[in-house]
């Protein structure tokens, strides 16, 4: 019996001790007519060897593509040590550190994470993770609305990842928060600041400011922050953590800095992993610490005066405050925080800065190579971090499909989410891309683009 340790004899002894004749008797409180739980479409159990064979075959089936997709999660080099340590049983199979004395390992690590993350953002406080970037943004919107009690209007620019906007909408909708989109300049690709300035002072709870924005472009965060604060709105920064090793952090935006900052922690040592698990981070100024959701670890002492760590400010959380909690979140993304913390330690501030710089550098090369191709143009001249948009003279989906047949994931087709940009392609080269790979991409793209202007490529003919 997989994972069940008892022998027949032991089962008998246990049943005798309980004074029942068989295991079924233990289910006697279940009304008889409900005893119908038989599983019919679950396959029979197979051995680890057989499951392994299936999984290996499926993982190979999915192949290996050279990746130029970003759009919120990014391929980075992850030092081997990160996951060898993270999957140690003592981290991997522990529960949430509710019993502090039996969980000092996880707790100290979380405290160290909070230190690194809040400092990376130049804010006072970090929580110990939320699910992922988009839902973290939703939580930030709710926290801001709580902080600005009577207000329910939150401004989200269209330069925020469209999926993030959808997630926020799904989550905050029920609490009657009004999300107001503001447009961007189609030439610059950044937030139209005049629209923001046009709001009435005191009418807006918060303004979301992305850096870089979904197009990979750098927003004028200082002006935006000051403008939002002018309205008496909180500023919710939405940032890429890798970028923050290089760029001015939200706590230093404008005159007073952002108030709450969230984002996707995946770039910090977490694999792309077909979609998750990732981790959301959230930092804030001290004065909002009681408004934010998620666990927080504090440093304290034990009764002998030794340094120790424990979960703190639990009165914000559901297990204490129940219907009045700041959020319903309970299980978070703890193990991803372990990975992120080890990742940051291994890279150090200098290593992280170099990663950020190399990403920018490579994307620069990518843009140069791609826009050298006939029919490929840069969409915006605005400075970017490690991602940017090019415009093609052909439908992006078809081009991406053809390039995929060459083992390359070329980027994200923006034409559905941003029809105003035309045939727009969001593309990215992190530090993991070599110049050879970039050139290879450009060569294929060139070939595909020039052939397509005459005739659709064969991959298209077959698949379409």
């Amino acid at each position: 019996m997989p994972f069940i340790p008892h022998t027949e004899e032991e089962i008998r002894q246990m049943l005798d001790a309980i004074r029942v004749s068989d295991i079924d008797e233990l289910f006697s409180e279940i009304p008889g007519d409900l005893h119908s739980g038989k599983l019919t479409s679950v396959p029979s159990g197979i051995s680890e060897m057989d499951v392994g064979r299936i999984m290996l075959a499926r993982s190979r089936q999915d192949g290996h593509y050279i990746n130029f997709i970003g759009g919120g999660v990014y391929e980075h080099h992850i030092p081997a040590a990160v996951w060898e340590l993270t999957t140690r049983g003592e981290f991997y199979t522990a529960y949430t550190p509710y019993q502090a004395e039996a969980s000092q390992g996880t707790l100290q690590l979380l405290y160290e994470y909070q230190t690194m993350m809040s400092s990376l953002m130049a804010l006072d406080v970090s929580n110990a993770s939320l699910y992922e970037g988009a839902s973290a943004l939703a939580e930030a919107v709710l926290a801001a609305a709580r902080a600005r009690k009577k207000l329910n209007k939150v401004v989200i620019p269209r330069t925020v990842n469209p999926r993030y906007r959808k997630v926020v909408e799904s989550i905050v909708r029920n609490q009657r928060i009004e999300l107001v989109e503001i447009p961007f300049s189609v030439t610059e690709g950044t937030i139209d600041i005049d629209v923001l300035r046009a709001f009435d002072k005191g009418s807006v709870a918060a303004v979301v400011v992305p850096q870089p924005n979904y197009f990979g472009l750098l927003e004028d965060v200082d002006t935006l922050t000051d403008a939002a604060h002018e309205l008496d709105a909180l500023v919710i920064g939405l940032v890429n953590p890798t970028a923050m090793a290089l760029l001015r952090p939200p706590g230093r935006w404008g005159a007073d800095g952002a108030d709450i900052v969230v984002g996707e922690g995946q770039p910090l040592g977490i694999p792309l992993s077909s979609g998750g698990p990732y981790m959301g981070f959230m930092c804030c100024r001290n004065k909002y610490v009681r408004q934010i959701p998620g666990r927080i670890v504090g440093r304290t002492r034990d009764d002998k005066g030794n340094e120790g760590f424990t979960l703190t400010l639990q009165a914000r959380e559901q297990h204490i405050r129940r219907s009045k909690a700041t959020s319903n979140i309970c299980t978070n993304q703890g193990l991803m925080v372990v990975a992120a913390t080890i990742y940051m330690s291994l890279l150090g501030p200098e290593g992280l800065r170099r990663v950020a710089a190399r990403c920018h550098h490579n994307t620069n090369i990518l843009l140069a190579k791609l826009t050298a191709i006939d029919g490929v143009y840069r969409c915006f001249e605005t400075p970017f971090f490690h991602e940017s948009v090019v415009r093609l003279d052909q439908p992006v989906t078809d081009v991406l499909r053809a390039i995929e047949a060459q083992g390359i994931n070329g980027g994200i087709d923006l034409s559905e989410d941003y029809p105003e940009l035309g045939n727009a392609l969001l593309t990215c080269a992190t530090e993991t891309r070599t110049v050879d790979e970039i050139e290879n991409y450009a060569t294929h793209l060139d070939r595909i683009m020039s052939r397509r202007s005459l005739d659709p490529p064969c991959a298209e003919k077959v698949a379409g």
């Binding site: 994972f3 340790p5 246990m14 309980i18 004074r19 006697s28 409180e29 279940i30 409900l34 599983l39 029979s44 499951v51 392994g52 999984m55 993982s59 593509y65 990746n67 759009g71 049983g89 003592e90 199979t93 522990a94 529960y95 039996a102 969980s103 996880t106 100290q108 909070q114 809040s118 400092s119 997630v167 799904s170 290089l246 760029l247 001015r248 792309l272 077909s274 998750g276 610490v289 504090g298 440093r299 034990d302 009764d303 120790g308 400010l313 405050r321 129940r322 309970c330 299980t331 993304q333 703890g334 193990l335 372990v338 940051m344 291994l346 150090g348 990663v355 710089a357 620069n364 400075p383």
Partner: protein
């Protein structure tokens, strides 16, 4: 010692970072960072030693019996980790086309089907990221359903007083008012109260069955009837599904919507706090509202459902594809167990709990619901000990750590005084169960002989009793560079 205290500016790990020759002239200097963040500059070896040593300060399933009630701390098979972390899955960008993810999606699709069968529901979406997000999803669907029916006066969600904190918190997040339903002394829901509370304002009732009291709600069909009669829907908090897999299906108990905690029943690791996965299952009437994405088998090709497939969907709850890696682990687990294995999980989880309960009872330990069968967990109350000696359930819990056992869940559910919610799980051996019983009985003796000693436990852990009050009063949540 904190890792920052080992940091020395200038110490770098060049094999981990690109060379310092990148051209960043394209970024306006006004946007560049001035001061470096407090991230330690330490060597690889220092990092490894530091985090290896931290890991050793944890209790975990791999090191200790961990009978944490409601948390299902069972063995996390290593195969699940290994096969979920195959490079093909790990390196795949979620923005890649469905064409390049058929292997991965086949696993997801089959997992949906398995969970459908286990729960007896009509359809499953894997996307919620944990139990609480599953709850949110479920209640949001309930709301969407009523809204779609124009039934918009329903502004209340009912929860039993024994419910987990996420239930009322979720209801609030979905914009509902929470009404508590009391529990009878025998552990079942008070039907009279329920009847008095339901009505036209009732959107639904959230219930865990087996309940958080470690007993099976015997009147479940009655409860369902009452709520449905009033036009409300029935939500199943699947945190305790481990107790009934292959025995009873929530669908058969007439639940309309359910979430599962794969990090419990399907044995994905808790990871010191997460990640989990909280898939939802729904019956036919809620199917149109399922969150996206979920996998559709489109004539032999798998693809993610998008808005167009389900215009009534409550939408997206995360930017990408749920906690995919967690779902892969659950899939491997499900295949290893198979249908017989799943049923055995419920049987042996129940056997273990009843055996421990009986052993403790035989040694005079007081049960909160003495006449009842344990499900996969049960509740001990130490109220009389507290009255007699001043030693609290928390003190006993801390003392258990000294004996090498992780403490059970304490002070939950809130309605039982000085309680331990004990969930041994099916993967623990008879020897472990008996060791725990012995340790607990010994501590109860110690509490009588030397209450002060127990009140200051633990003694063998890396730190002694932690001062939580100080932590909250003198908030220190991030290390600062000491001034000198």
């Amino acid at each position: 010692m904190l890792i920052f205290e080992r940091s020395r500016t200038g110490c770098t790990n060049p094999s981990q970072a690109p060379d310092d020759d990148s051209d960043i002239s394209g970024i306006p200097t006004s946007l560049l960072r001035a001061e470096p963040p407090i991230i330690p500059s330490v060597s690889e070896l220092q990092t490894i030693r530091h985090y290896t040593s931290l890991s050793q300060k944890n209790f975990s399933i791999d090191t200790n019996f961990y009978p944490l009630g409601s948390c299902t701390m069972k063995y996390n098979p290593r195969a699940c980790n290994k096969y979920a972390m195959l490079p093909g899955f790990l390196n795949r960008h979620p923005g890649s086309s469905d064409r390049t993810g058929q292997g991965f999606m086949a696993c997801m699709y089959e997992l949906q089907e398995i969970l459908r069968d286990v729960t007896g529901m009509a359809a499953v979406s894997l996307s919620p990221l944990a139990g609480a997000q599953g709850e949110f999803t479920g209640v949001a669907m309930i709301r969407a359903y009523h809204d779609a029916n124009g039934d918009d006066q329903r502004d209340q969600i009912l929860v039993p007083d024994a419910a987990h904190g996420t239930n009322p918190a979720t209801a609030t997040m979905c914009g509902y008012q929470v009404r508590e339903i009391p529990t009878r002394p025998d552990g079942d829901v008070d039907l009279d109260s329920l009847r008095q509370t339901v009505g036209p304002r009732t959107a639904g009732l959230m219930l865990t069955n087996p309940s958080t009291l470690g007993v099976f709600e015997r009147q479940i069909l009655e409860v369902a009837h009452i709520v449905h009669e009033a036009g409300g829907l029935l939500y199943y908090d699947g945190a305790n599904l481990n107790a009934i897999m292959g025995k009873v299906k929530p669908g058969d108990m007439e639940f309309d919507v359910i979430h599962m905690n794969l990090h419990k029943t399907f044995s994905t690791p808790h990871g010191g706090g997460g990640p989990g996965a909280g898939p939802v299952g729904v019956n036919e009437r809620l199917r149109p509202f399922l969150p996206i994405p979920y996998v559709i088998d489109d004539g032999g090709e798998y693809r993610w459902a998008v808005e167009e497939d389900c215009p009534l969907s409550i939408g997206r709850l995360s930017a990408f594809m749920g906690n995919a890696g967690v779902l892969l682990r659950a899939y491997v687990y499900a295949r290893l167990l198979g249908r017989e294995g799943m049923q055995r999980v419920a049987e042996h989880a129940t056997l273990n709990a009843n055996y421990m309960m009986r052993c403790l009872e035989d040694k005079g330990v007081e049960m909160a619901y003495p006449g009842r069968r344990a499900t996969h967990e049960f509740i001990v109350t130490l109220k009389s000990l507290k009255d007699e000696t001043g030693v609290s359930a928390m003190d006993v819990a801390k003392r258990l750590l000294d004996k090498g056992y992780h403490a059970p869940t304490v002070y939950f559910p809130l309605l039982v005084p000085e309680c331990f919610l004990i969930e041994p799980t099916e993967t623990e051996s008879k020897e472990e169960l008996e060791g725990f019983v012995e340790a607990l009985v010994e501590i109860l003796k110690e509490a009588k002989a030397d209450p002060e000693m127990v009140k200051h436990a633990p003694y063998t852990t890396p730190v002694h009793r932690i001062d939580e009050v100080k932590a909250a009063r003198e908030l220190d949540v991030a290390w600062q560079i000491p001034e000198n």
